[in-house]
Symmetry: D2
Subunit: 461 residues, 4 copies
């Protein structure tokens, strides 16, 4: 996962600060690296490993003045985190300088790269973003920006929400299936485009609207243009944005994330509430869902677990002798709330099950009479190829056995997931408007070796 | 505020890691600096500005081996944060090396320092901790440790929970009025002493007990000794530990902080609930109180405000043009939960009122029909001289006017505080077992210019 | 200017250390950035801004294991120093991974880049090294390494001494005119290639020999092959390597740099010695020349100027009020050696003349009766296009006026340069074996707008 | 060894810059740590590990404004380099704030510290500077500054050149035996005091004069006062300042260091020149001496060895397999100047002899027919207790055997030292004006276990 930002601001001194605060609001979408590219006579990029506040100190921002800029926060999806993969990525070519920040993942990256390499193209990174940049650069040599985006859309398979600087033009584009969110707001000073509306709220912008799947926003010389590049037969909004990834205060395609999660909790309680003394979230991911569950089930909402607010990236791993403490260091029990009680724990999802098992254990050892586990989404049975790092199928506990298998693995007294139907109802979109691949195993675009429901799209230009 | 730790561990390689994780669990008690002192042939101190995880990287810890060690996290109580004031503070003298970590504040610091200076004593810092260290060193020249602690207790006025290394002896001491918490746990490897029990839970220790006001713990050659140094006529546990400062999962002197806060919420609702559509906490400080309030009032608990989880120390202040955003950057509304609703916001306390006012404003501007403000503690009318940085009396909004004055200042539709009686009932201690000075203006020790209820203590040695 | 290194070492743990020490010996060739690329399963590059000792700390080196590696130190030739221009530069393509370190400058960089851009090629940097890498990659798609080097040689105009990793092959190549030096040494563990022999001496290697202009060294699977790629009708060894740039202990193409400089001093004295009390070098650049001058003229060698040995990159510029001190901070006089004396100052060359003027001034103000300036090379009248940063023609003081003009500008009593003939005799190569363009204005390859003596070369493969 | 600076400057913004450049000129006196203390409303200290340019970046200096300031560079005399020992050291007491920078070493440190500890005094460091600060503070409680300095002088045994801030008073004091140098210069803006005159030259100050042994300079409210605190029967200027430590461009007590070294070379040649082809210095320490030697002996001065100019503190030690390279990495031969030649190497002194042996070896292995070693000072046979780190007696090679023993140890063909008489003549002071203890074993103050020529001093106040 990643977060992208684009800013057009009349006041060139203010621009980098706007990008900075927007990225800061999107920090949850990526903590590995952060970067800003700005245009002013030419494109300059500053990026580094770490949080937005670590990478950008005051004197850095003051050197990044210009009317248009993009920003990016990156989540390490693959093992090693490399500084060369930090974004935005800048390429220079016949058409000038192109800087791109990308949220998503190309399914046909290897094929595209091979084709380009066969043409003699050379790459500086191993990132799919560079493939997008090279393709766009190529198309722009012979075509205008609209045609180039259409041609690009024909080539790319997968999810790609991007913001880009093409010399002095600001571009934002959301892929036709709309996997990842993107929205735009307007202020006195100009426009801000961001992955989530919470970034626009932070800057107190109004007239916010979502950028639709297949839509591009182009800002040139202060003029904003919204163009529909492609129209697909279906949409594929990532349902996990609603379940886990997005901030609860964001509104994505008209749906408030908090409300969706609250309804997941209510529907979960309707489907499978169990008699109990307290309902507690697994913090922080299960909080909103647990509040909804409590509201529907009338079981008191009381926190059994408290998370250390300072848990972060730079943690030293416990020594061998203390290895079993790792969950304890992040999360502690409130013994008084648990002792002698029947406890229902609510989390948003279960991926590998290892953390869930440890949490059930520490709650039980704190004196719970019963520990029930409720999950605000259906079992995850298939990997994601569109940008969420969910490990391989073998590591997904729900793809290894049935409900009883998982219940035993996490040693809960009872276990229940929200049904797919319940989830869809909670989010409020139709099945053909969401990507549910990780829950159903059916993918909205062709992925080699997987079942597909390949909904091609028409291009309009 | 600060947090202190003391460790005795048979395995000298494990000691620094135990201090590290204990400090990590106490990070909320101080984010300005962190330090560890360890004894092994001599006392070595490593300390620095920043979070525990920033100051201690793996290779630093590996150089701090030894069977006994202390640790400290510091909260900047005064304006400028200086690296020379980081703790533990190490002094060298006739009696050897003494390293001290201190949580609290001496009321008679200036007088003690003057006396020592008149004797020709010289200081390296401006910290009251160095005064404690010098006095202790002086007493130890002529007396044993027990007598020295008694003599020290006679001299010191104010709050002082300390852990110390006196050469190869580990000392922990809680002042006779017991302002600040201190507890001890036992594990296979030895003992851990910490400001709050959450640190002991993190290390999965058992046989945890509070160190009583006036009690000292002395560990020499692996032998633990608990000595009652002084017995006061009353206690003065800081009520703000329960209201705001301590982690909710800690148990202080037998009272679970979560439970106290939950009861504050319930009692607050009993005293002054107002009809409403939703109850929302001001995150994170008002969360537990709001849950209790909702439970008692039966008004649905729904979050109106979402905090950016990455808000931290190293934030760049917004530019002048964006200055009004400062609360927005930390906290955003969930519009859907607010629009057209009557909202009750619950916070733990109001200090200056400036943040409360901004929060009421953004909730109202998000479409709330009514905004009611409920506070889980009585009005703060007097400054704290015992270690909590609460500014001067003039800055305390509740000392500047009555309820209506404050209500108008924060522009809420209604405002109510928890009564003192309700607070006391929630915490469960008697009035003469708590320090309520900031709420009543009556101080448990003599503070020049303030009303005092000076409860002297007997020394026992 | 830059320095390059290539290492083949049987002991893969030793390789990075060998590159490190070789780069360290070449530090004088570039202080802006340093980098190492190593092959082991794939090519990894580590580079950064600063000195070799600043960029490479012990734990970095230990992560760069492998049998073959290259290294680079870079001198900032253009205004802004950018981290993206640090070398080695790594490109990925159909033929795999190519990392290149380059010493030199392409005259036809813009044309080559335009051609590649017209083919749709995309660049990550603005460096001519990336053009070399892309061309080489292109040729390797259809040709073997020998042919590719020939084709590359046909395309490139200018100076280019490179070391490269082409997947698991180590390549070193010196351009057919041999502008920049390159040599190879053998040890028990394998081979080391470096810009100057001082790097090989540091590692106590034997069987050292120069790599000839047009020669390539290829090491594959431990087998070393030396191939003559091209044979030019003339050579163009940069005479400034002998005058100033190379370390005096290096031997370049059989000529010891120290000896060449010493002879420049002798010949300078023969041509234009003036009666005087002492001969002093302008440290450090004029030292060897001044020693030779003193030996020939029999005038005592005594240092009038002492350089601060700690002058380096990270110097804070003096405040406005102290700006005139800038030379004083770097260099001080030994008043006793100057007072009442007739002083001859010897420097290797004069570029802009500003430093020379300040030095004459401080020597005169220290009490010198006369200050004579002698220069170990002829006047610099034309810019360098082959890698030495010598500013534009307008900034070269000798291109703005005659001898008397320069003498007055630097306010010396007398001024004399070494004659071109004297220089050539000192170095010992024929005129058609050296590049003397900066002294004569006649360039060994075609440079637009300059007089050329274009000596094309035959390719042999 | 260390370097000290004191500045009084009317322009409070300029002060820190003046200290910075003065320290920069004294960098050779200490590379381990650097620090500046400035008075403005109170004393602030900024110090850190590393070179002056590393510790002080521009934004640090701008925070250190004030009319008076002191500075310090420190050389690690003992094994471990600790940041707590960085100077200036700041103490706070009844008399206010005292910051001291100290160059020297107290012989009776342990006794003084014990006395103070017995009085109940407490220390923050293990540095003798803190003892000076505490004593000074104590005296100032009952006496004026003049009397306090006299009392201090009575107590201190050893070498102590200090600059200090006593609140808003600037003090510089040179001990009565004058071990370490100290001088003062005047500029438009005020005064600068520094260990060596080269620092004053750098700032282009005039009216420079030495501060005499036993003299104090006191600057209060812009008024400068020079007071003679004590008058000793003899002086004890460290002869090693002239031999090795000071910069050659400094003038110490009227003697130009360059001239002294040059004469050492001349006298050495007179005493023991050997027929030879070239004379070469061991760089950089032997350079001036070798120039004098060459001038006297008429043997050509030619450099056989070239030092890597970038050798510094942060060097990674060679791996085990490359350990024997360590001298090679710092210094390389110019083979051409050596091959088949009879070479005389001149160095300033021999301490342990290990480096000398390696240098003789690499010169011989470069083809020298003969290698003669000449030393610009007599054999070092006794340790220094006054601030120069010369290891223990056992490590001093000349205290382990006679001339022939040392010659064989360093494997030279012949070896000669300068005679004591020759040294004294070169420096130009009488025997009772210098400290020659390391060469004679007779110490100018009482050192337990050593022969003493204890010249007590009278105090004048």
């Amino acid at each position: 996962m990643c977060g992208v930002v684009g800013v057009y601001c009349e006041d060139r001194e203010l621009t980098p600060t706007l990008v900075y605060y927007a990225l800061y609001a999107l920090q949850h979408r990526g903590q590995e690296s952060a970067g800003i590219a700005v245009y002013s006579d030419g494109v300059r990029v500053y990026k580094g490993m770490g949080l937005v506040t670590e990478v950008f100190r005051e004197n850095v921002l003051s050197k990044l003045k210009g009317k248009i800029a993009i920003g990016h926060v990156r989540y390490s999806t693959t093992g090693e985190s490399k500084s060369e993969n930090a974004q935005p990525i800048l390429v220079r070519s016949k058409v000038g300088e192109i800087a791109i920040g990308h949220n998503g993942n190309l399914v046909n990256y290897s094929q595209l790269r091979e084709i380009l390499e066969n043409e003699g193209k050379v790459f500086a990174t191993t990132s799919d973003t560079e493939v997008i940049a090279q393709l766009l650069s190529n198309f722009l040599m012979k075509h205008d920006l609209y045609e180039s985006l259409s041609l690009l859309t024909e080539k790319l398979l997968g999810s790609y929400t991007i913001t880009a600087l093409i010399n002095d033009t600001l571009l934002a584009y959301r892929d036709p299936l709309g996997f990842r969110p993107l929205c735009i707001g307007e202020g006195d000073f100009g426009y801000v485009i961001a992955s989530e509306s919470c970034a626009l709220d932070t800057l107190e912008l109004n007239k916010i609207r979502d950028i639709k799947p297949g839509e591009a926003v182009i800002i040139r010389n202060g003029d904003l243009e919204v163009v529909r590049i492609a129209r697909a037969k279906r949409c594929a909004r990532c349902v996990f944005e609603y379940i886990y990834f997005a901030r609860p205060d964001s509104v994505i395609d008209g749906v408030t994330v908090y409300e969706a999660r609250y309804k997941m909790g209510r529907n979960l309680a309707r489907e499978s509430a169990v008699e109990c003394d307290i309902v507690s979230p697994v913090p922080d991911s299960g909080t909103t869902c647990a509040i909804g569950y409590s509201a529907e089930s009338k079981i008191p909402y009381i926190e059994a677990l408290i998370k250390n607010r300072y848990v972060g990236r730079t943690f030293i791993m416990p020594e061998q002798r203390l290895r079993e403490l790792s969950v304890r260091i992040k999360m502690n029990v409130v013994k008084k709330n648990i002792e002698g009680k029947r406890v229902t724990l609510v989390d948003d999802s279960i991926v590998r099950g290892t953390t869930s098992r440890k949490i059930v254990e520490i709650v039980r050892s704190a004196g719970a009479k019963e520990v029930h586990f409720r999950v605000g989404s259906p079992p995850i049975i298939s990997p994601c190829y569109f940008g969420i790092d969910m490990s391989t199928r073998e590591e997904l506990i729900a793809s290894c056995g049935d409900l009883e298998y998982v219940r035993r693995a996490i040693s809960a007294d009872t276990l229940a997931y929200l049904s797919l139907k319940g989830l869809i109802k909670s989010v409020g979109f139709g099945e053909d408007e969401l990507c549910l691949a990780c829950l159903t195993g059916i993918y909205p675009v062709c992925v080699p070796g997987e079942l597909c429901d390949n909904a091609k799209y028409e291009l309009n230009y």
